[in-house]
């Protein structure tokens, strides 16, 4: 029997209330196994002194660009990037070409993801072609393997359509992930509204553009009783609304991305198109509030919004540049920075990056429970590295963290017991 023993690591498994140093984890036939008294002769043992053994990380918000924009990223390259960042599963947004709004596209994505380096969970479109007019065929996408619904990249502006989507999708147990943006307030905007946008002469996007729609979705969740997940929350205003709604018992969950707790809109200075994303980088107050919300539970998930773009979309005038940055390979060190500063615990980090996304999407993973597939990430919390262009695994290089000196990274990623990334010394 094929046995791998991860030895002497700090095993962090919040789903099972487990956090213990110097622990071994057994893997047999690709599954997490209970440890046995006698080590088989052919067992492979890996010493992980000083490292963390955690359930495989899950990024519930990525763009893999396939089908349609394979020059930016493919399902193969995107999942390699995921594995290098310590992720064993990703949920991919439907804004491909064509849009993932039917079983055919969902099946295509799943076929392409066979034998790739991370599990791929397709997110289907809420509306046909994500045009915000009529519902997409949620049932057939569910049957084909889609796990959630979103028109990410575009908000569902029509409140009645959003209401109906929530009601209808509930019967298929497909969570709705909402890109909250009131386009009338954000139109032509390309960065956060504030003194930096004024100085640079760039049209700003006010916090209210996000908050207005966050409140709309909370109200619809209360009306319908259906859960809503708010994507990439960036502002204090939205977080106040979500915190209050949670207190009232509304079934709202929310994610943020590492750039919102790491950078502010000052990163745009110099018209750096790698600091352009939607929603935009915000003020220092917003950034600090995002961090507090990760601590107090207002935010449930850290997702990267990994959005690869080539230089065709980024080496242009700032106003014309595409929104988005790659994020899979920097999520662990940027989140670990909060752990190193003592702001969140290691266990909380794993909740945000694995336990909660698994629960919200309703997929396996998020724990190191015996008998489950061995989706496991080994993190060296202190390994430092410089994120230079040659280190980027994604097919695209649009990141504001280029050449950053980072501390902590995934050093071993296992998918069903198979090694998808190995950077052990």
């Amino acid at each position: 029997m094929n046995t791998v023993i991860l030895k002497n690591g700090r095993l962090i498994d919040p789903a099972n209330n487990h956090d213990k140093e110097n622990t071994d984890l057994w893997i047999q036939e690709g599954l997490i196994a209970s440890s046995q008294a006698v080590t088989p002769d052919d067992a492979i043992t890996i010493d992980l002194q000083g490292k963390w053994i955690v359930p495989g990380l899950i990024d519930m918000h990525v763009h893999l660009r396939e089908p349609g924009e394979e020059y930016k990223e493919t399902i193969a390259s995107g999942t390699q990037s995921a594995a290098a960042g310590g992720f064993t599963a990703v949920a991919c947004m439907p804004n491909t070409h064509p849009v993932n709004d039917c079983a055919t596209v969902t099946r295509y994505i799943l076929e392409k993801s066979q034998n790739c380096d991370a599990r791929v969970y397709p997110v289907g479109a809420i509306s046909a072609k994500s045009e915000g007019k009529g519902l997409a065929d949620h049932g057939e996408m569910k049957e084909a393997g889609a796990v959630a619904l979103s028109d990410d990249g575009l908000p569902v502006l029509d409140s009645q359509l959003m209401r109906r989507a929530m009601e209808y999708s509930a019967s298929y147990q497909m969570p709705i992930i909402s890109h909250t943006e009131e386009l009338a307030l954000s139109r032509n905007g390309c960065m956060n509204e504030g003194s930096t946008s004024t100085q640079l002469g760039l049209k700003g996007i006010p916090n209210a553009a996000e908050a207005v729609m966050v409140y709309r979705d909370i109200a619809l969740s209360e009306l319908t009783g259906v859960a809503i997940h708010i994507a990439h929350v960036s502002t204090i205003d939205s977080l106040n609304l979500i915190r209050e709604a949670k207190k009232r018992g509304v079934k709202v969950t929310a994610e943020t991305a590492p750039h919102y707790f790491t950078l502010t809109d000052s990163a745009v200075t110099g018209y750096d198109t790698n600091a352009k994303m939607s929603p935009p980088l915000r003020s220092d107050l917003d950034k600090e509030t995002v961090i507090k919300a990760l601590v107090d539970g207002t935010l449930d998930v850290i997702a990267t919004d990994h959005a690869p773009h080539s230089i065709l979309e980024k080496e242009v005038e700032f106003s014309l540049a595409a929104n988005g940055i790659i994020g899979l390979e920097t999520s662990v060190p940027l989140t670990l920075a909060l752990v190193h500063k003592g702001i969140i615990s290691a266990g909380r980090m794993i909740e945000l990056l694995s336990v909660n996304p698994a629960a919200i999407l309703g997929v396996t993973g998020g724990s190191l429970t015996i008998g489950h597939p061995a989706d496991i990430t080994v993190i060296d919390p202190d390994k430092t590295f410089c994120y230079t262009p040659d280190k980027i695994v994604s097919q695209s290089a649009n990141t504001p963290f280029l050449n950053w000196q980072l501390r902590g990274k995934a050093v071993l990623t296992l998918l069903g017991g198979r090694t998808t990334y190995n950077d052990l010394d």
Binding site: T198, L200, G201, L202, K203, G204, E317, F318, S319
Partner: protein, 317 residues
């Protein structure tokens, strides 16, 4: 000025990058070059053999003409490329367009572009000097310099003056450059307009935001009105030009609050009867046409200085 001073800018991207010494030096250079325009033979050989490309992605009459006149008076060879004749409409990227022009070895590219930051983007890809002739709603440095020259000629020193700038600050690159320039030279800049025209955080550039035109203009040494448009890109900014003229236009009644010798300025082109009444525009205190004349002198100075009027270095910007 410090005797060690030399002008070290290869590009003129904005007032933001210029120090008070730089501004003094540009204005002094402009003053000494201004006299050339009054000669019977309005030409000096200073930039003979230099190639200057006016690359205009936005329509412009006075700024483009002003740069062209300035270049010709310095004997440079000038070429004009406007958006309608360039490849921009054929889908060529800005960087490709610029690299193609660069392949013909220009010394200076004078550039106007609809998007903020476009000139900075070009400096990262080509070797020629770039002079920003207006980028989006970001900066219009040569306009601010000619404004400062005009004020300096009348008021001796800019230091200690009160400058009122009225109108659409939000969409004005002139306002952003003027606020920074006049502030750097020791003036106080007060701005006013409907709240839809006042961008958030403009105070951080050095401006004082006033709630009324009267407050902004009170005891002002200079009153500048900006061109306004009723709406931009589907953004309803004011109800009508008529209402704007009534409540925010610069007229003689408003000017009673300014100093008696206050200068009246406008970067042009004027919407007569909207942001400024005709009698004010044509009145004795108006220096609007002097601004145009000084524009040539300032642009001659900029072309001369970025070409290494003195010892130059490529180390900045």
């Amino acid at each position: 000025m410090d005797t060690e001073y030399f002008f070290r800018h290869k590009h003129i991207l904005g007032i933001e990058q210029l120090s008070p010494d730089d501004i003094h030096h540009i204005l002094n250079t402009a003053k000494s070059l201004k006299e050339i325009s009054n000669r019977s033979i309005k030409k000096v050989p200073t930039l003979r053999g230099k190639t200057i490309v006016n690359l205009f992605f936005e329509p412009s009459t006075r700024t483009r003409l002003s740069f062209e006149v300035a270049a010709k008076r310095m004997s440079a060879d000038t070429f004009n490329i406007s958006a309608s004749t360039s490849s921009a409409t054929k889908g060529e990227t800005l960087i490709d367009t610029a690299k193609n022009i660069e392949a013909m070895n220009p010394d200076i590219i004078v550039m106007r572009h609809a998007y903020s930051g476009a000139p900075l983007l070009l400096t990262r890809h080509i070797d020629a000097s770039i002079i920003n002739a207006g980028d989006g709603t970001h900066e219009h440095p040569s306009q601010a310099l000619l404004d400062m020259l005009t004020v300096q000629e009348h008021k001796k020193s800019i230091n200690g003056l009160k400058i009122a700038i009225l109108g659409d600050i939000s969409h004005s690159r002139v306002a952003r450059s003027d606020i920074q320039g006049f502030t750097k030279m020791g003036a106080k800049v007060s701005i006013a307009g409907p709240a839809t025209f006042i961008p958030p955080g403009i105070e951080d550039l050095g401006a004082e935001v006033c709630s009324t035109n009267t407050e902004a203009v009170k005891d002002a040494d200079v009153v500048m009105a900006l061109r306004i448009q009723k709406e931009r890109q589907n953004d309803p900014l004011i109800p009508s030009l008529r209402e704007y003229a009534t409540f925010f236009g610069v007229d003689n009644a408003l000017l009673k609050h300014a100093r008696e010798d206050a200068l009246i300025m406008h970067p042009g082109p004027i919407n007569r009867g909207v942001e400024m009444s005709p009698d004010v525009a044509d009145g004795s205190r108006s220096v609007i046409l002097e601004q145009v004349t000084n524009g040539v002198a300032v642009r001659m100075a900029l072309l001369y200085l970025v070409m290494g009027g003195e010892k130059n270095s490529n180390s900045d910007n």
